[in-house]
Amino acid sequence: MRLRANTAIGGALVTLLLGTAITAMFWTPFDPLRINLRARLQPPSSLYWLGTDEFGRDVLSRVMVGAGASVVISLLTVLLAVAAGMAIGCAAGYIRGWTDRIIMAVNDALLAFPGILLALAVMIVVGANKVGLILALGLAYIPSVVRVVRGTVLSIREKEYIEASRVIGNSEAYSMIRHVMPNAIAPVAVLTTSMFGWVLLAESALSFLGLGVPPPAPTWGNMLAASRPFMETAAWLSIAPGLCIALTLLGVNLLGDSLRDRLDPRMAHG
């Protein structure tokens, strides 16, 4: 029952997010960048569903475009982190020996930095723009993927069907690709959904601090930052973007939970 609720609610929220992001590429109620000083700081109304900000820009439109930005950045980051992480983790876990030791030493050193700090550090070098952000966040999360993948590969390679593959006469490379990798996908899939959430949160946090995507391009993070001076007078500016982040994260987490439950081998064998 919990499984179905998780999937339903999580799926609905994520679909809402993706739908909004895609819609925003083609249409928004108002131009998110257009300044209209006569309509400054309007509370939510039938015209401006989420009100306007200090420049008279429609909050709903900005939120929608922000969704798009967040989704694209997070997706690309996760792709980068998972692709690189799987390759490195598999190599470390399967080949072992010095390859493994060196990779793990570097990995542990990178893990010693909290994700955001690592991203910050990389951004200092590459500069604060969308590509830089993706690179920085991706690099910051590769070590986590490597660790999980390596752990999974280590346990898989002890299984008898890997030994069986050797007995048949298959080469080590074949065994790794044909037998290890497909079985390593399940935990990585769960990790991927969680990571999407972390990355989204990290990106919002960086934008909130002013170190992410710079204004006027709207992301939920920098919208929240900009709302601070108006907290008392225009509370809706603080509520809308934050609520979006929270709902998206909730959806992603619930979906991740249901994925993990479904892939749990104990449940798979009913």
Partner: protein, 314 residues
């Protein structure tokens, strides 16, 4: 035991070394002349020459690195470019603020999360369990900076119970200082309860499945004793690891909380110095944070034999 300690300490050395190399390389990787990068284009030539000498930029890189490490070991983290204060004392000063918030929040969260997770696992799939899991998932989905803003809005601006901006160190005035850090701690605690409860519950479920729990019940041991004596100590280990990771990661994420509540902590120091291109301070903060992370995880590891006798000195 001493051997185990020595071995674990030895294992951290390569990590710390790589961390130092990474931090050192950071500034060198920024395109352009490091001195100009640090001082900006409108640099005072005297200051530039001073900095150049200080950094020893005319020497080969490995030598520069050695000098830098030597100075670090002596406690000299350099000086801030913006205000010429010594970096290390500055960091330590700010760290006190961050540390108090993080430690109190995580401790409070753990005290609530572990029993909650245990009870939820005990009554798995009941309404109580579902509410606990639902609540925890909700809490960890909320971005900390948003929650902070909302609490500030409610308790600071609307209800006016607590101050909105500012900070007073504990040494000056205990109660006033407490009002300034109450909200940040509450914010952080709420989020961490979400994270820790789920892990505590998952670990407890695993343990409740095991035969020795049934064996204890088969001896006639009452439920509360089964939970307290047989389940809790064995379920605690994974949560303890997570606590270590959380403590470490909050050292990075604390920046947003400190920004929301305008607290003079380590996170804000880092962000401010990034904006100000005050690279000695940036390097100092990164290095310090990484070392603390490694130390915290070391302590967490060393505590393991306390609850899991299987983890021996071997």
């Amino acid at each position: 035991m001493l051997g185990y300690l020595a071995r674990r300490l030895a294992m951290t050395i390569p990590t710390l070394l790589l961390v130092a190399i990474a931090v050192f390389a950071l500034v060198r990787l920024i395109p352009g002349d490091p001195v100009q990068v640090m001082l900006g284009d409108s640099a005072d030539p005297v200051q530039a020459a001073q900095l150049r000498a200080q950094l020893g930029l005319d020497q080969p890189i490995p030598l520069q690195f050695m000098h830098w490490i030597a100075k670090l070991a002596a406690g000299d983290f350099g000086h801030s470019i913006t205000n010429n204060l010594a970096v290390l004392p500055l960091i330590l000063d700010r760290f006190q603020v961050s540390a108090v918030i993080v430690l109190v929040a995580v401790a409070a969260a753990a005290c609530i999360a572990v029993p909650a997770g245990l009870i939820a696992a005990w009554k798995q799939n009941s309404l109580l369990d579902l509410s606990v899991v639902g609540g925890a998932t909700l809490l960890l989905s909320i971005p900390s900076f948003w929650l902070g803003l909302l609490l500030l809005l409610l308790f600071g601006l609307k209800l006016k119970w607590l101050p909105v901006i500012g900070y007073v160190p504990f040494s000056e005035n205990f109660w006033q200082a407490a009002t300034f850090i109450l909200l940040p701690i509450v914010t952080l605690t709420m989020i961490e309860i979400g994270v820790l409860t789920r892990m505590a519950r998952a670990a407890s479920i695993e343990v409740l499945r095991l035969e020795y729990v049934t064996h204890a019940r088969a001896k006639g041991v009452p439920e509360w004793l089964v939970l307290g004596r047989h389940v809790l100590p064995n379920a605690f280990a994974p949560t303890w690891t997570l606590i270590g990771l959380v403590l470490g990661h909050l050292l990075g994420g604390i920046a947003v909380i400190e920004t929301v509540f305008t607290l003079p902590g380590l996170g804000r120091l880092l962000v401010d110095s990034i904006f100000a291109r005050d690279y000695p301070v940036v390097q100092g903060c990164l290095l310090f944070t990484a070392v603390i992370y490694v130390v915290v995880n070391l302590i967490v590891d060393l505590c393991y034999p306390l609850f899991d006798p299987r983890v021996t000195v071997a």
